[in-house]
Every structure is written in structure tokens, then in C-alpha cells.
């Protein structure tokens, strides 16, 4: 090759690559409205985007995995946490996380109520953009999902087929069920992970591992004590009733703590009463009542 030919190569390959790129760009523009639900970009979403920019959120957090890596990804945060929780969190993050424990903390941002509401609408729009199913598994903010605590994933469970005689055995907290066939606790553990939003996005079953919701370790013992005591505000008469009530009517009795509720309203979504079938609630109750 002489210099003229190499120059032609440089110009030619650049031109071809640029043309293909421009063509794809035009096609991408054609598809933006559908992929991003552009009709849902309301003035509030746009205002929320401005809040996201104004407070420089992207230089700690990521959305769509883009930003800085100092704080959790927020792409799907509104699908893991309810608005009440996120609003209270935005008002004072230090009530939710301990800087001494996690060694980092989000500074209080002093957003107005309107800014918070807009920001959450923006994040909710983000969570619904069709982005090829990323992340492949929910990115949690806190909580251990490791062996001995909470490890099993739906995929892992689906591959497990143990003999049926294990079905009647009570399961120790957080271990993988030996069978998923008949055992209501095993089925309940699946519901724990597969409900929308998933219970395990906010609750761990490990001792002391409080996430957005309190740890469910030792739930039964605590419930037994609570149900008979004067502090209890709900209607339930026994442990199973209490667990069932907590799933369906989270605000009937709230666990103390500014990170769990505000003005007597629990941050836990109250949507399970509609989204779960009665037998799923039974299974979930069975599973949770196994957490001694």
C-alpha cells in the first residue's frame, strides 16, 4: 500500500462507518417514543429530571447503570420501594442508614415536597423504560442474600427437586426448601421472592439485617409477645393472623421507627391485598411463621 491508498482507506472506512451510524441513529429516533414511553413524559417527569440534574445525583448514583459508582443504581428503585418510603428517605437519609455501619451516607438534600414528588415521578418513568431487561437481577440497596441467610434465587430453587418426604419437615429460617412441590412454606418462600414488589427487596431473614423493612428473623417470637400486649394496635388474635394482617394491611400495626412509617402509615406497599391470591397469602404466612 502506498500513502495514497492508505489515505483512501482512512477516508473510506470513516465515511462508511459514519453513514451506517447515522442510519441507525435515524432508526433509533423512530423507536425512541415507544421504547421510552415518551407520552408519559409529563411536565412533572421533566421537572423531576431537572431535580436529578440540579442536585448532581448522577455523580454518586447511576440510572441505567450510568453515573458514578459511589451509591446504588436507581433504575428500578420505584419498583422496589413505595413513594411513602422514598419521600421519607429523601427528607432525611440518616434516619434510614447509619454512616458508622455502612461507612457512607447520603447527605441531606433539603428538597421541597414538590421536588421530591417530581423526582419520584421521573424515577418511576425511568423504571419503565424498555432497556433490554437490565438489570438481570434486582440491584438491592442493603441486605444480605448470602448462604445461610437468604441466598436462594428463583432460578436456584427451580432446579431443586428433592424427595417428597422432606416436605413435612419444618424448615429452618432462610434455608432452601428441599422440595417446592407441596410444602406451603416452600411455596411461600417463592412468593416471598416473586411477589410484586418482592418481599425480599425490603425484608431479610437474617438476624439484625434490617433493610428498608425490619428483618423478619425471630418474627414468630416477636409476634407472640406483641399480639397479647397493650402496644398492639391491630385486630389479630394469633401469630398467623398477625402475619396475614401485616401483609394485607401494613398500617394496621406499625413497627416503631422513622424509617418504617410516618404518621401511622407504613411505608410498606398496601397492594398485596389485590396482587396476591388468597392461597398465596396463606403460603406466605406459612413460610413467615416458620421464621422462629
Amino acid at each position: 500500500m502506498n500513502k495514497r491508498q492508505t489515505r483512501l482507506f482512512a477516508i473510506g472506512s470513516t465515511a462508511v462507518a459514519a453513514l451506517v451510524f447515522l442510519g441507525l441513529t435515524i432508526d433509533t429516533h423512530r423507536q425512541f417514543p415507544k421504547l421510552t414511553n415518551a407520552h408519559n413524559i409529563t411536565p412533572a417527569v421533566t421537572a423531576g429530571k431537572d431535580v436529578w440534574h440540579k442536585y448532581n445525583c448522577v455523580n454518586c448514583h447511576t440510572i441505567f447503570g450510568e453515573g458514578a459508582y459511589y451509591a446504588p443504581d436507581l433504575t428500578k428503585i420505584t419498583q422496589l420501594r413505595g413513594n411513602a418510603y422514598l419521600t421519607a428517605y429523601m427528607k432525611d437519609p440518616s434516619q434510614f442508614y447509619d454512616e458508622q455501619k455502612h461507612r457512607r451516607l447520603m447527605p441531606k438534600q433539603d428538597l421541597s415536597d414538590e421536588e421530591i414528588s417530581n423526582l419520584l415521578q421521573f424515577l418511576d418513568w425511568v423504571s419503565k423504560v424498555d432497556n433490554q431487561g437490565w438489570p438481570p437481577r434486582p440491584i438491592l440497596v442493603t441486605g444480605s442474600a448470602l448462604s445461610g441467610t437468604d441466598m436462594a434465587t428463583p432460578e436456584v430453587q427451580a432446579t431443586q427437586n428433592a424427595p417428597a418426604d422432606g416436605a413435612a419437615m419444618p424448615l429452618p429460617p432462610g434455608t432452601d426448601p428441599l422440595t417446592v412441590g407441596e410444602n406451603p412454606m416452600a411455596l411461600g418462600e417463592r412468593v416471598f421472592r416473586s411477589a410484586t414488589p418482592a418481599c425480599n427487596a425490603c425484608h431479610s431473614t437474617a438476624p439484625g439485617a434490617d433493610m428498608a423493612g425490619p428483618s423478619l428473623h425471630g418474627l414468630v417470637a416477636r409476634a407472640q409477645e406483641l399480639v397479647g400486649s397493650p402496644d398492639y394496635k391491630g385486630q389479630a388474635k394469633d401469630v398467623d393472623g398477625y402475619i396475614c394482617e401485616a401483609i394485607l394491611k401494613p398500617s394496621a400495626h406499625v413497627v416503631p421507627g422513622a424509617m418504617y412509617s410516618a404518621n401511622g402509615t407504613s411505608f410498606m406497599p398496601n397492594t398485596y391485598v389485590e396482587s396476591l391470591k388468597p392461597e398465596q397469602v396463606d403460603h406466605l404466612t406459612a413460610y413467615l411463621s416458620s421464621l422462629k
Binding site: 482512512a10 451510524f21 432508526d27 440540579k54 457512607r104 432497556n131
Partner: protein
């Protein structure tokens, strides 16, 4: 120094050095925050130190590019610059823009758009500076009537860099669309036209330093540019993973990003074979270290480490983790920081004749400490990132808990970053140690066109 007007380059380099030093300060601050708890949480939180860290990088590297161009173009075109005054005015506006932007960031006065956080007036100032710069360089070449290929590649690179900044000025209602065009600026800069600029400087340095044949070097420069753009333009697709664009960007990103190392392999072979063919006769062996070092480190940081997480089925798990920081640090340092430092090291003995031309011992310490430090930092980010991906993304451990498990890698990061910062400090000290004299030396013609007899080194 053969032309008096080349002295403007020195002041660009000096500004670049100050900003480089500041960038490292804010980088170190950011790194310590990973260990936490942060006593500066309400004074200088992470988002502020990080935005300053990345913006200073862009500003100092561009300052270095401009200075190096002002150094190189008179040499190549054998003429004085069109307007020295314009070059200084340009530097003045640039510095005011840079300093006010940084001070603004301290008070969160920015647009919060990743890497393009500059407020609008600053963006306009950047465009104005670039236009002044292109005009000055263009007029210089036009007046001289001598336009080399190396210059052409460099100039086209700088002009395209200015054009590609335009999408950054526009505002998009749809966040996904703004992501789409952000990468037209950032990616096509970093993996496109900046590589062209790097290639231009590399060719210039290799021709000067090794005395390699200009025709051969420039021929291969075209090949490298071709390879850069085949892979680089369509490689933009790897920034379009998982952000809300059509799925076909995934395979395109996978395939063309995998081709990106080709150009970088080409560049490394290019540098190495020039050395092999023509020897390392030039007395400025320190500049040779930086030049070849840049080509090799680019191949490692941009090429290899980029390839490591660019395939969609891998990136699905690594996207948005410290793996990206691993690649980012090594790539930017190898490709752009090192090529600017190479140009500075090459030019400096001509500007400040008190200096040993083959480099001071301090200069070599600076080189090796920086390299060791950056290599260690890259490994720290890599090990932290692998831990993060495994614990957080694959096992499903919460983000904050996973970060606690990888604390030891942050300690390693701070230790190696300290080594790196020491290297940077030595480089800056070595830069300011000798006062510039700006003497024009007539007989310094060494454009590599013919057989060149290297001067014996002053020891």
C-alpha cells in the same frame, strides 16, 4: 526552540500542570470517601469531588492538546504562529472558564449531566476558545504553505472535537435521548477524534525522536486513523447498552468494540517498530519512555481492559460497577495523560535549556512512580469491581453491604493512588524546577526527513 512563538506552548503546559495536580487532589479525596465515614459530608461530598476530578481531567488534557499543538505546528510548518496574542487571549478565556467552572461546582453550580456538567456560558466559552484555536492554527498553516499529513490528522482531530461538542449544547426533554447524544461528544471524542489527535502527536514524536522515515510513518498513520474510525464510530454502541435504545445496538456494540483494540495494537506496533527500525538515537530518552509508554499503556487500559467488559453478555453484569472505573482510569491515563506528558517532556528541554535533555533522574522517578501507581490503581478497581459484580450483581447482596466487603480494595486503591500522586508531584516539581528561557536556536532542525545526527547528550 526554533520559533519564538512556540513559547506560548510553555504557558499552556504550565496551566495543564496546575490542573493536573488539582485533579489528583480531588481524586485522592474521592478515593478516601470510599473508605468512609466522611467528615466532609456536608462540606465537600463525593458528588462534588468526583465532578471536579473528571472535569479537571478533560480541561487539563485539552489544555495540553492545545499547548502541544502550538508547539508542534510551527515545527511542522516551519513558521511562526499566525498570532501569539490570540493564543494568549485564548488561554486567558480558557483559564477563566475552567476556574469559574470548578468554583461553581464547589457550590453545585452545574448542569448535572454526566461529564458535560459545564453551565451553558462555560460551554459557549469552550466553543469560542476552540474556534479561536482552530483559526489561529489554520492561518498559521495557510500562511506557511507547508501542510504535513501529521498536521492534517491532528487538525482534523481538533476540528472534529469542536464539532462533536455541539450536541452537548443542546437540551433534550427525554433523558434517554440526552444519554444518546452525550456519547456523541464523550465517546466520539475519547475513542474517535482524540485518538486521532493522539495519533498525530505520536507520529510527530516518533518522527522526531527515532528519526523514522516520514513517508512511512505518515502512511501508517492513515491506516491507524482508518482503524480507529471503523471500530470507534460504531463502537459508540457499547454506551447504548441497557439505556432504552433498540436492541440492535447490543450486537453492534459487541462486535465493533471488539475491533477497537486493533487500532491500539496498530499504534503500539507502530511505536515499537519505529524504535526498532531507526533506533533510539535521540538524546531525549525520557520523552521516548513517555511516547512508547503511552502507546503500550493505551493498548492495556483502553484496549484490553475495555474489551474485558464490552461484550453484552458480560456487560449485563458489570455495567455500572467499579469495573468501569478500572477501564476508565487506565484508558484515560495511557492514551491522553501520557501523550500530553510525552509532548511536554519532548518540548521542555528546548524551552528551558538548563535541563538535561535525556531527562533528569527526577523525571524518571516521576515516570515509573506514575506507571506503577496507575497500574496498582487499575488492579485495585479491578479487584474491587470483580468483588462487587460477584457479590452484588450475581449473588444479590445489597449494594451497601457488598461495598463493605470490598473495603480492603479501597485501602489498596488509596495506597497505590498515593504512589501515583507522588509521581505526579515529582513531574510537576521537575517542570517548574528550571526557568524557561525561550531562546530561539537556529540549528535545531530535526524534522526527521533526512539522516539526522543526534546531538550528544548534555550530562
Amino acid at each position: 526552540m526554533r520559533y519564538k512563538s512556540q513559547s506560548v506552548a510553555y504557558w499552556y503546559f504550565a496551566v495543564a500542570m496546575v490542573l493536573f495536580g488539582l485533579q489528583i487532589v480531588f481524586g485522592l479525596l474521592s478515593a478516601t470517601k470510599y473508605l468512609g465515614p466522611d467528615p466532609l459530608l456536608y462540606i465537600l461530598p463525593f458528588d462534588v469531588t468526583k465532578v471536579i476530578h473528571t472535569n479537571l481531567l478533560i480541561v487539563w488534557v485539552l489544555t495540553g492538546f492545545m499547548g502541544a499543538t502550538y508547539w508542534m505546528v510551527p515545527d511542522e510548518s516551519r513558521t511562526e504562529l499566525h498570532s501569539v496574542k490570540l493564543a494568549y487571549v485564548q488561554l486567558g478565556i480558557w483559564v477563566v472558564m475552567g476556574v469559574t467552572a470548578i468554583i461553581g461546582y464547589l457550590f453545585r453550580f452545574g448542569t448535572g449531566n454526566k461529564l458535560l456538567e459545564q453551565p451553558l456560558p462555560h460551554k459557549i466559552a469552550i466553543v469560542v476558545v476552540m474556534l479561536m484555536f482552530l483559526y489561529n492554527i489554520g492561518m498559521t498553516i495557510k500562511k506557511s504553505g507547508r501542510f504535513t499529513t501529521t498536521e492534517g490528522v491532528l487538525l482534523l482531530g481538533i476540528a472534529s472535537a469542536a464539532v462533536l461538542y455541539v450536541p452537548a449544547l443542546l437540551h433534550y426533554e427525554n433523558y434517554v435521548v440526552s444519554i444518546f447524544y452525550r456519547w456523541w461528544t464523550i465517546h466520539l471524542w475519547v475513542e474517535g477524534v482524540w485518538e486521532m489527535i493522539q495519533g498525530g502527536f505520536l507520529a510527530y514524536l516518533l518522527i522526531r525522536l527515532s528519526g523514522a522515515d516520514r513517508e512511512v510513518m505518515e502512511k501508517w498513520l492513515y491506516v491507524i486513523v482508518g482503524l480507529v474510525f471503523i471500530a470507534g464510530i460504531l463502537g459508540t454502541a457499547h454506551h447504548y447498552y441497557w439505556v432504552g435504545v433498540p436492541g440492535y445496538w447490543l450486537p453492534i456494540g459487541g462486535i465493533f468494540s471488539a475491533l477497537e483494540p486493533l487500532a491500539l495494537v496498530g499504534m503500539a506496533i507502530y511505536a515499537y517498530s519505529a524504535m526498532r527500525r531507526s533506533g533510539m538515537a535521540h538524546p531525549n530518552t525520557l520523552a521516548l519512555h513517555w511516547t512508547v509508554g503511552s502507546a503500550v499503556f493505551t493498548l492495556f487500559g483502553a484496549g484490553l481492559l475495555g474489551l474485558a467488559h464490552t461484550w453484552p453478555s458480560v456487560n449485563k453484569w458489570t455495567h455500572g460497577t467499579l469495573i468501569t472505573a478500572m477501564h476508565g482510569h487506565a484508558a484515560f491515563y495511557g492514551a491522553y495523560a501520557m501523550i500530553v506528558l510525552a509532548m511536554i517532556t519532548y518540548a521542555l528541554p528546548h524551552i528551558a535549556p538548563g535541563r538535561r535533555e535525556q531527562g533528569t533522574p527526577l523525571g524518571y522517578w516521576a515516570f515509573w512512580l506514575q506507571l506503577t501507581g496507575m497500574f496498582g490503581m487499575t488492579l485495585s478497581f479491578a479487584t474491587a469491581g470483580i468483588g462487587q459484580v460477584y457479590l452484588e450483581r450475581i449473588m444479590g447482596m445489597g449494594y451497601l453491604d457488598a461495598q463493605l466487603k470490598i473495603q480492603v480494595h479501597f485501602l489498596m486503591l488509596i495506597a497505590t493512588a498515593t504512589v501515583f500522586a507522588t509521581g505526579v508531584a515529582l513531574f510537576i516539581y521537575d517542570f517548574v524546577r528550571y526557568a524557561p528561557r525561550f531562546e530561539v536556536v537556529e540549528d535545531e532542525a530535526d524534522d526527521g526527513a533526512g539522516a539526522r545526527v543526534p546531538r550528544p547528550a548534555r550530562v
